[in-house]
Point group: C2
Chain length 216, copies 2
């Protein structure tokens, strides 16, 4: 049943809105299928646009993916960095806020699919891996390392191996994100992120506490 009324155009020119809509559609489709398996035809359909239009705004699939990362992840990192820069109180509270932020802002949004994407495709698309490593991982690790250094300098944390401890902090959050992407459908119940976060914070409190007693 084709729409023949010429008063209703088949499409509109919307130069301003397109990139955002395309990136948004791409996040959805990449998240569902991964980078390599995602069909740009599907991204286009999801964005309500034809495949050719994608190429008016993005030179190729990889650049589209980078745009997705920039839009979905980097603003959160910016926020986290500002948070540390302006922190006044105890370091453990900063850590708690950061992890809670991750659990709510990233894990629960469609951006939670991005870690899986990167891990899945790093081998076959080293440029993407490099991009993500430089723009996201390095910054996130540096941020957490700074929190640990701050805590140790203030005597709130016992001395620890910073690099290993950063990985210990990140791992459960990362694993939650991967879990959601991969196995949520197979388990009856959804994973209890809140319980995991609570247990993780509890473990960190005990791990980081100076010998003389727990930090405030």
């Amino acid at each position: 049943m084709p729409e023949n009324d010429p008063a209703v155009p088949r499409w509109r020119r919307r130069k301003e809105a397109r990139p955002r809509e395309i990136v948004d559609a791409a996040l959805t489709v990449f998240g569902e299928r991964g980078f390599a398996a995602a069909r740009l035809e599907d991204v286009a359909a999801q964005a309500g646009v034809s495949k050719g239009t994608l190429y008016l705004y993005f030179p190729n699939k990889e650049e589209l993916f980078k745009a997705v990362v920039r839009e979905a992840i980097l603003p959160n990192l910016d926020m986290a960095e500002r948070l540390l820069a302006g922190a006044q109180g105890p370091s453990f509270a900063v850590l708690e806020t950061l992890l809670t932020l991750f659990a709510t802002r990233i894990l629960k949004s469609r951006a939670g699919a991005i870690p899986k994407l990167i891990i899945a495709e790093a081998g076959n698309f080293p440029d993407l891996a490099r991009f993500y490593y430089d723009e996201v991982i390095r910054r996130a690790f540096a941020l957490l390392a700074a929190v640990l250094e701050r805590g140790m300098a203030r005597g709130e944390f016992r001395p620890v191996d910073v690099d290993s401890t950063v990985r210990l902090i990140v791992a459960p959050m990362l694993m939650s994100a991967l879990w959601r992407s991969s196995f949520e459908a197979l388990e009856g119940r959804p994973p209890d992120v809140a319980a995991l976060l609570a247990a993780h914070l509890d473990a960190l409190r005990r791990t980081l506490a100076p010998e003389g007693g727990p930090p405030s």
Copy 2:
């Protein structure tokens, strides 16, 4: 320069040895490229065989992959289960042995690539995800849960939320495996698994210790 001497056959019939060689080649190629992107042509070449031969021993790509998992992972799980069943000493020592076993047997072998594989392809190949979940994840989680229960029953561990704690135990090891597969090439130094394992065990000791003091 073709070999025309009829006394030197171009190939031999080796019905017994083929499956193992093919599975071994498949582990290598799947590990490098992922499941979807791996070319059976490459698996065949790596196994010193032609593509058609693969189909004499495995009905399709998915079944070949399942065979890889069965061969590379399940024997390690069997060993771990026997280890717990025969354990006499303190529960923390069992935990330590299990994690060390993982860090050495899985992480350092080509089998370390399998977690990445599963996570990467779970969305597009739900049958594989189901298979891995049933055959590996459930068993591994049950195993660790049993260690925790044992420790709590013997008063060596304080009472903890078993499910969350199992995830906390697994996450850093899993993350190491994923890291190797994805970012090792991008960093100068290889990740220091020994340091991470030491820090993790230290953190677990503090986390699981009953209030009255650390377990032996």
